[in-house]
Every structure is written in structure tokens, then in C-alpha cells.
């Protein structure tokens, strides 16, 4: 519990914070915040120093990728700076009588350490994918003299070793992260959009529309997703677009069921009745009143869904049905390495571990969100 801080000490601390965010927090004894801000700042500074040549080269020969990375870096620096500065200004948070459902949820979430770790990992990962042009030590698809560089074990030069073409595995894993995460994100977005809409319509309309929609949902749900995936990708085309679309269009049933259940119970509540009495159209009621209130379980389902999608895509790539070469995806990389488990274990192991860790992170966050948002589902008191 901190009281108001004396003015002069404050401005000195703020000055220090300008130079090194986190240090200021440390000085006033807010160690938790400092523990996050200071290392983040240091990492960013190291990155800027280490990748300086590349950063400087962006304005001249930068591709879209490089500009995005530059933008992300700049944003991250500003965010850490700004947050540290602003945070020092405000009085320390009093135990506020928070009323909003979201506030309660956020507080609950913050107490869940595992979920926070998961969230931290995810943020780091997405940052890494955006900053890949600055972080990746080599070009992931460049082949040099194959005979010399192929199948080198992990070393100072190549932290994750090289594959049989002599390509650096660390860079490939990083670039693979982009594809896998992008597929996961886009496919899940498709699925929750479709799922929420269908579920809301089913729950709201009721009667025969509901019955028909639920039949259709059951049908898609009963089908083993992997088999349908293999079927479509193998028979049609093996491209990123097809794979993402199919992944998205096979994941919506779970969301639909959840949303329908919630909408069914919400439908009879007073505020919906009031909206109807006021003459609001059905579409408006569904979109403006129902959907925002069912978002909570949808977000949980989405978070868990991203993990599932990444695993599915990896599985497809493992069966050689994933995106074509030379695009690196994690599943591709594991497939490359599975015939060399004995003499080049690093090719399959690092991407495999990456998959597990990322999916684990998403699952931790999803669990934490579920605990936080729905008191009925709480798994930790």
C-alpha cells in the first residue's frame, strides 16, 4: 500500500524512468512491475544494438516484412517507455470497488500465475514473429554449399543446427512460427465468426431453424476433423489458402453449441424482452445485444481452438499434405526430421518442442480465461 509520493522524489524518479524504464519502478519499490519492465527494456535495447545494421538498411531496401518489423520495434519501445512513465504518475492502485464483469475477470486472471506465464509466452511469440527479420540470423530458404553446411549439430553458429540443405534451423523455426501462428489465428477467426453467427441465429430463432442448424452442426461435429482435412487437401489442392479455409470451416461446431446454449438462456431475460418491446429488429438484437454477451465463452473457445488448429496443421504437414516447399511450417520441419531421429535429432525436436510449448501456452491462457470469466467453470477457488 503506497501513499502519495513527494513531488521532488517523483520527478527524479520520472527522469530515471525516462532513461531506463523499470529502474524508476525499482526505486520506488514496485518490484513486480519492475521485474517485467526492466528485462523487457533490456531485451529491446540488445535487439536494437544487435540488429542495428539491418534496421538501418530498412529504409533503403526494406520489404513489407522489414517495415512491419521496424514498426513493431518502434511501437514496443514506445509502449514500454510510455507505460513506465505514465504508471509512475498515477497513485498506486487502491483496492477499488470494481463492478464491471470484465474488471472482476481481469483481476481473477491476474491471480492465475500459470495463465500469466502462458500469456507472456504468447506475447513474446507474436512479437518474435513480427520482429523475425531482425531476429533470425539467416535466410530460412537460402541454400549455400550443401555438402559443407548440411546436418550440422547445434552450435554457436547455428543454435538449432542445420537441416539437410544446410539451412539454419533457428531461422526456419522462427519463420515457421509465422506461418503456423497465422494459420491458427486466421482459421480460428473464421471459425468463431461462423460459429457465433450460426449459434446466435439458432438459439434466437428456435423452432425449425434451430433444429435444422443443430442437425447440420452435429453432422460436421461427428466427422473426424483430420479425415475431412486429409480428404479435401489431398483431393483438391495443397495450398495455404485451402488449408486455412478448411481448418476454419471445420472448427465452428463447438463454438456454435456454446453460443446457442448461452443465447437460449439469455433470450428470456428482461433486457432482450425490453429490446423487442422497443421494436428493435431481430438482426440488431442479435448483433448488438446477444452476441456481446456471449463473447466470454467464445473467447475461451477461440483460445483453445488456436492451439488445436496449430496441431492439426502440423499433423497435415507431417503427412506431407501441408503448404508446399520451401515454406517452412513446424509440421514440415518435423516431417523433415523424422527419418533422422537417430543421427540428426535436432531437426525434428526443436520444432516439435515449439509446437508443444506454444499450444501449451494457449491452453494455459484459455484455461485461465475460462476460470476468470465463468464462475461456474472455475477450476481454482
Amino acid at each position: 500500500m503506497h501513499g502519495p509520493i513527494r513531488a521532488s522524489a517523483m520527478s527524479r524518479t520520472r527522469l530515471i524512468s525516462l532513461l531506463a524504464p523499470g529502474l524508476g519502478h525499482l526505486l520506488v519499490g514496485r518490484r513486480a512491475a519492475a521485474a517485467i519492465l526492466l528485462p523487457a527494456w533490456l531485451l529491446l535495447v540488445i535487439l536494437v544494438i544487435g540488429a542495428w545494421p539491418r534496421i538501418v538498411g530498412v529504409p533503403r531496401t526494406g520489404s513489407l516484412d522489414d517495415w512491419i518489423a521496424l514498426g513493431t520495434l518502434a511501437t514496443a519501445l514506445l509502449a514500454v517507455w510510455g507505460y513506465a512513465y505514465y504508471d509512475l504518475q498515477r497513485p498506486a492502485r487502491a483496492a477499488d470497488a470494481a463492478v464491471s464483469q470484465w474488471r472482476i475477470a481481469m483481476r481473477q486472471f491476474r491471480r492465475n500465475r500459470l495463465a500469466l506465464i502462458g500469456l507472456g509466452c504468447i506475447i513474446l511469440l507474436y512479437l518474435a514473429t513480427l520482429l523475425t527479420p531482425f531476429i533470425a540470423p539467416y535466410d530460412p530458404i537460402a541454400q549455400r554449399d550443401i555438402a559443407q553446411t548440411s546436418l550440422l549439430p547445434p552450435s554457436a553458429d547455428h543454435w538449432f543446427g542445420t537441416d539437410r540443405f544446410g539451412r539454419d534451423m533457428l531461422s526456419r523455426v522462427l519463420y515457421g512460427a509465422r506461418i503456423s501462428l497465422a494459420i491458427g489465428f486466421i482459421a480460428t477467426t473464421i471459425s468463431i465468426t461462423v460459429g457465433t453467427l450460426l449459434g446466435a441465429i439458432a438459439g434466437y430463432a428456435g423452432g425449425r431453424i434451430d433444429a435444422a442448424l443443430m442437425r447440420f452442426t452435429d453432422m460436421v461435429l461427428a466427422f473426424p476433423r483430420l479425415v475431412l482435412l486429409i480428404l479435401i487437401v489431398a483431393l483438391f489442392e495443397q495450398s495455404l489458402v485451402v488449408i486455412t479455409l478448411v481448418l476454419g470451416l471445420t472448427q465452428w461446431p463447438t463454438t456454435t453449441r456454446i453460443v446457442r446454449g448461452d443465447v437460449l438462456s439469455l433470450r428470456e431475460r428482461e433486457f432482450i424482452q425490453a429490446a423487442r418491446a422497443l421494436g428493435f429488429g431481430h438482426v440488431r438484437i442479435v448483433l448488438r445485444h446477444l452476441v456481446p454477451n456471449v463473447l466470454a465463452p467464445v473467447i475461451v473457445s477461440a483460445t483453445l481452438g488456436i492451439g488445436n488448429t496449430i496441431v492439426m496443421e502440423a499433423g497435415l504437414s507431417f503427412l506431407n499434405l501441408g503448404p508446399p516447399p520451401p515454406t517452412p511450417t513446424w509440421g514440415n520441419l518435423v516431417a523433415d526430421g523424422k527419418d533422422r531421429l537417430l543421427n540428426a535429432w535436432w531437426i525434428a525436436t526443436f520444432p516439435g518442442m515449439a509446437i508443444v510449448l506454444v499450444v501449451l501456452a494457449f491452453n494455459l491462457v484459455g484455461d485461465g480465461l475460462r476460470d476468470a470469466l465463468d464462475p461456474r467453470l472455475r477450476t481454482q477457488g
Binding site: I146, A147, F165, L235, Q238, N320
Partner: protein
């Protein structure tokens, strides 16, 4: 049952599981044949029907020829034709041949193998209703008629004189008395194919689909052909995942592993108890340029791209040295292979010079060449999703980039690739061609003769039309003297190197591995199962 009982039951189950685990641990899952005489072979895929008339699968064909049936002729180590079912023959010029069959070969049900069986097999194979994929159209394409002279004498008449005529007969007859009642169109699906009655050193006793095939020794196999095999049983287990198969080989769960992937060669070498078999094979990998489409209608472009490719590097790095450069569809180990043709060596400078000469220049500085109209040197390279092919096209893409050609890789599922290739719907394709037998004239005709270029669905999918090549192919087909054949194929190869209608890449070595406790295993271009009738395992 109330919950308390459920709990007790569950605890009992847990205890039982622990006990079971200990029991398993006590004797640690060891495997190995019980009592000498069983050889276990690990294969990656299941077999097709064991019917020489309707079969087109490679390993099924090998088992037919070496284990289950008796072909008319066989090959020796120098690829000369030697008698087998036929104990002698008489050639009547180059128009006919008369075979005298052995009298001591019997079907597994006891009946004798006779000339009627041979002629029956011939007629069914040539019958279009049977849709025979290999025997009819490939082996017997130059054989017009067959005639029974007496119970053990057959006369075949050729349609025209052709090279390596005796090799038309490297196939085994089927029992007429078991198959004559089946209509030709039903032959492909006959129950016989899964329970074949053959005449070879082994008989098929069990076939659990996708799991295993069990062969048992035939004690009545005639001594004149080598006698009954030393091993009592040969079990072929189907294990699709290559790394699991290798694990089983190391553990002793299988004695022989067919085939081995090039990537696994190092792992096999590291195990002292394993022996690697590597020998030049019948599979030829090549890049097919679609000669009917720009820019591949210009021979200079084709040759330039061929010069940009470093085939040696690919063989060394991706095949781990398990391959040989290919300059033509004539295999290096064939007796009629023309020695003395220097392989095309990679030369970036020559490639660049040729492209410039053909009018391809990098006019806008993006690293890709454009022609005078500004169209870039960009095309799709088609490949199936097979691991080796994917690897090769990745390297090809990178090599072609160096001379300013942008090859976009298009990976499609195998059947789709075949469909696109067959319908000539591609720019460039990296694929393979497997020789069906050792007659070398068939492949050049099928792949490169202009008469095939117009026929829909023919093997000349690159639409190759070269008058000079046509002439040489026709000469090569008709020449019956090996020295003459060699001379013709020499000219043929030179022309190929110059024109590059397709760019031949390499012959892939066949790879297999066996445990050192297995004796009698020899493998060469004739097949992996060549000496299966003499395989035996020593007790370890």
C-alpha cells in the same frame, strides 16, 4: 453395483496393471523367430494381386518372378537371358521362336505346368478386356501370336523383328485350369489373385491385408531349378513409416528392410550388425520440359537450364551418393549402354551465355530474365508430394534462380500430378520413369518419339518432336546386333544432350538393408528378391 464396489474394482485393476507391467518387464518384449527358418522382411506398402497378367506393382512383380511363379526365362548377372521354365529354345530368324519347357515343374496343386498354360496366359494378356497394364502392352507388344505345338512346346511369332527379342518372355504363366472359367474383364478382381496357386519355390499361405504376407517353402520345387529353399517361412510385414521400419530392423523385429530411404543410409552404416545393399536401379528421374509451351519450345533455353543444374551436388547431398548420373533412358548397367559419352557438367557461364543468345536478359534488375517482349522467365515446376522429389525440386529451384530463371514449385498429390502430366497440363515437371524390364528400346520410343507426341495420354508427355531422334529410335529398335545397338544409342545420347527435350537427372540406387545374420541375400538390378529362394537366417 454401488460406488464403493466400483472403487474397489478400480483399485484392483490398478494393482493388476502394475503386476502385468512387471510381468512384461521380466522378459522385456524380445522378438525373434521361434525355431530356425523364418525370415522376416519389412516392406513399406502392401502388395497388389499376385497375377502376372494384371499386376503392375514392382514388388508384387518381384515376388511373382522369384518366389511364387516360374517365368519362362530369367537373367544372369550380366543380364543375359538364361533358361528357366523354358529349358531351351530355337530362334527361327527374327520372326519366331520355339520354347521347349521343362517337364518337372508343377503347380502347387500338383498339376504339371504345360504349354497350354503359357498360351492361355498369352491370350489373356493380349485380350483388351483384361486391361493388362504390363504384360500385354509392354512385354508382348511385338509378339503377335502363340501356338501350342505339344504339351511342352510353344511357338511364338513376332509382329516384326526387334532388338532383345528373347527378353519379351520374362514373365510367368498362370494355371489355365484354375482361371479359364473367369471372364477376361473379371481377371483383375479374381479371388485367385489373393490366394494364388503358383509354381515357384514358395507358396502363399496367409495374407492379412496391410499387415503381413506369409510364404511357405514348397518342398516339391524341382532340383533342376535349385530345389526347395532352405528357409521354412518368409514373412513379409507391412510397416509404412520408414523410421519405425528401421527401428524394427535394429531391434531384430525384421531381418531385411526393403526399401531403405536415402536419408537413412547413415543410420544403417552406423549399426555394425546391419548390412546395406545399394545397387543401380531401374528408376530414372528426369525433368520433363513441356516442349509445346514457351519458353521450352526453344532448345537453347532447355539446354541452358540443363547447364545450370548441378546434378552431382544433388546426388551427393540428397541421395547421399546413392545415385548415378543419367544422360539418356539407357541404364548404365545395361549390356547395350553406349559407354564413352561425357556427362553434361554444370556450367553457369555457358548457361548464361545461351540464355543471352536466346534473347533472355534481365532487363529490370529483379534477378529474373525477360525476353524481348518483357515476359519473365518464370514457370511452374510440378512435383508430387514424395519426400525425395520435394527435396530435389527445392534444390533445383535454387540452382535455376542463379541463372535468372524463376521456377515456382507446385506440389500436388500423386494422382493429380499423374493426371496433369498425362494431359500435358504442365510447364516443367520433375518425375521418374521406372523400367519395366531390361529391353532398352521401349523407353525411348514411349518417351521421345514424335508419333507418340500427338496421342492423348501417351507417355510422350513433353510433346517431343525431333526427326533426328525419331530416326535413331527406329534404328535402335530394329537393330538385333548388340554392337550396332550400342553405336546407335551413342548417337542418340549425343543428340539428347544437345537438344535436352527432357533433362535426365539420375538413376536412383535401390537401397535395402539386412541383418548380418541373414545369408544368401544378393541384390542387383534384377531385383531385391532375386535370391529369396536361398535366403536363410543363422541363429543369433
Amino acid at each position: 453395483m454401488d460406488v464403493a464396489q466400483v472403487i474397489r474394482l478400480r483399485r484392483a485393476a490398478a494393482v493388476a496393471a502394475l503386476v502385468a507391467l512387471h510381468a512384461l518387464a521380466a522378459c522385456g518384449g524380445e522378438v525373434g523367430p521361434a525355431g530356425g527358418g523364418t525370415i522376416v522382411v519389412g516392406m513399406r506398402s502392401d502388395f497388389g494381386g499376385f497375377n502376372p497378367i494384371t499386376n503392375s506393382d514392382l514388388y508384387t512383380g518381384e515376388l511373382i518372378n522369384f518366389a511364387l511363379f516360374t517365368p519362362l526365362v530369367q537373367y544372369d548377372a550380366d543380364l543375359n537371358v538364361v533358361p528357366h521354365l523354358a529349358q531351351s529354345w530355337q530362334e527361327h530368324g527374327d520372326t519366331a521362336v520355339v520354347f521347349e519347357l521343362r517337364r518337372d515343374v508343377r503347380w502347387h496343386d500338383g498339376r504339371s505346368v504345360t504349354a497350354e498354360d503359357v498360351v492361355f496366359t498369352f491370350e489373356r494378356a493380349k485380350d483388351p478386356q483384361t486391361t493388362s497394364p504390363l504384360l500385354g502392352p509392354v512385354f508382348l507388344q511385338h509378339v503377335a501370336a502363340a501356338q501350342v505345338i505339344d504339351s511342352f512346346t510353344v511357338r511364338f511369332r513376332y509382329a516384326r523383328p526387334h532388338a532383345q527379342a528373347l527378353e519379351d518372355f520374362w514373365w510367368a504363366p498362370v494355371p489355365r485350369h484354375l482361371l479359364e472359367t473367369i471372364p477376361a474383364a473379371e481377371l483383375r478382381n479374381a479371388a485367385f489373385n489373393r490366394q494364388p496357386v503358383g509354381s515357384g519355390p514358395y507358396r502363399l499361405v496367409e495374407w492379412r491385408a496391410a499387415e503381413r504376407l506369409v510364404l511357405e517353402r514348397n518342398p516339391d520345387y524341382p532340383e533342376s531349378l535349385g530345389g526347395p529353399p532352405p528357409s521354412q517361412r518368409v514373412v513379409l510385414r507391412i510397416i509404412p513409416e520408414a523410421s519405425t521400419l528401421l527401428t524394427e530392423l535394429v531391434r531384430g523385429g525384421v531381418h531385411v528392410d526393403i526399401p531403405v530411404v536415402p536419408d537413412q543410409v547413415d543410420q544403417v552404416g552406423a549399426e555394425s550388425a546391419l548390412r546395406l545393399f545399394a545397387y543401380p536401379g531401374r528408376t530414372l528421374y528426369y525433368i520433363g520440359w513441356n516442349n509445346a509451351r514457351a519458353p521450352f519450345d526453344d532448345a537453347r533455353v532447355r539446354r541452358a537450364l540443363a547447364l545450370a543444374i548441378d546434378r552431382r551436388d544433388i546426388i551427393a547431398a540428397l541421395l547421399h551418393g546413392q545415385g548415378e548420373l543419367a544422360e539418356s533412358p539407357i541404364p548404365p548397367w545395361s549390356p547395350v549402354h553406349p559407354g564413352g559419352v561425357a556427362p553434361v557438367a554444370q556450367s553457369i557461364d555457358d548457361a548464361v551465355a545461351l540464355l543471352e543468345l536466346a534473347g533472355w536478359r534481365d532487363r529490370d534488375g529483379d534477378g529474373i530474365r525477360e525476353n524481348a517482349e518483357g515476359a519473365p522467365l518464370r514457370f511452374d515446376m510440378l512435383s508430387s508430394d514424395d519426400v525425395l522429389r520435394r527435396a530435389v525440386v527445392e534444390v533445383l529451384q535454387s540452382q535455376l534462380r542463379r541463372v535468372g530463371a524463376d521456377a515456382r514449385i507446385r506440389i500436388v498429390e500423386f494422382q493429380t500430378m499423374i493426371a496433369d502430366h498425362r494431359s500435358r497440363n504442365f510447364d516443367a515437371i520433375f518425375t521418374n520413369w521406372i523400367l519395366d524390364n531390361f529391353q532398352v528400346a521401349a523407353t525411348p520410343r514411349a518417351l521421345l518419339h514424335s508419333a507418340e507426341a500427338d496421342r492423348a495420354g501417351s507417355p510422350n508427355r513433353s510433346s517431343v518432336r525431333d526427326v533426328e531422334l525419331d530416326r535413331l529410335i527406329e534404328q535402335g529398335e530394329a537393330a538385333t546386333d548388340p554392337a550396332e545397338q550400342r553405336r546407335i544409342w551413342h548417337q542418340f545420347t549425343m543428340r539428347l544432350q544437345q537438344q535436352q527435350p527432357v533433362t535426365f537427372m539420375f538413376w536412383l540406387n535401390e537401397l535395402a538393408a539386412a541383418h548380418s545374420s541373414v545369408t544368401g541375400v544378393e541384390m542387383d538390378p534384377r531385383g531385391e528378391f532375386l535370391t529369396v529362394a536361398r535366403w536363410s537366417v543363422m541363429e543369433r
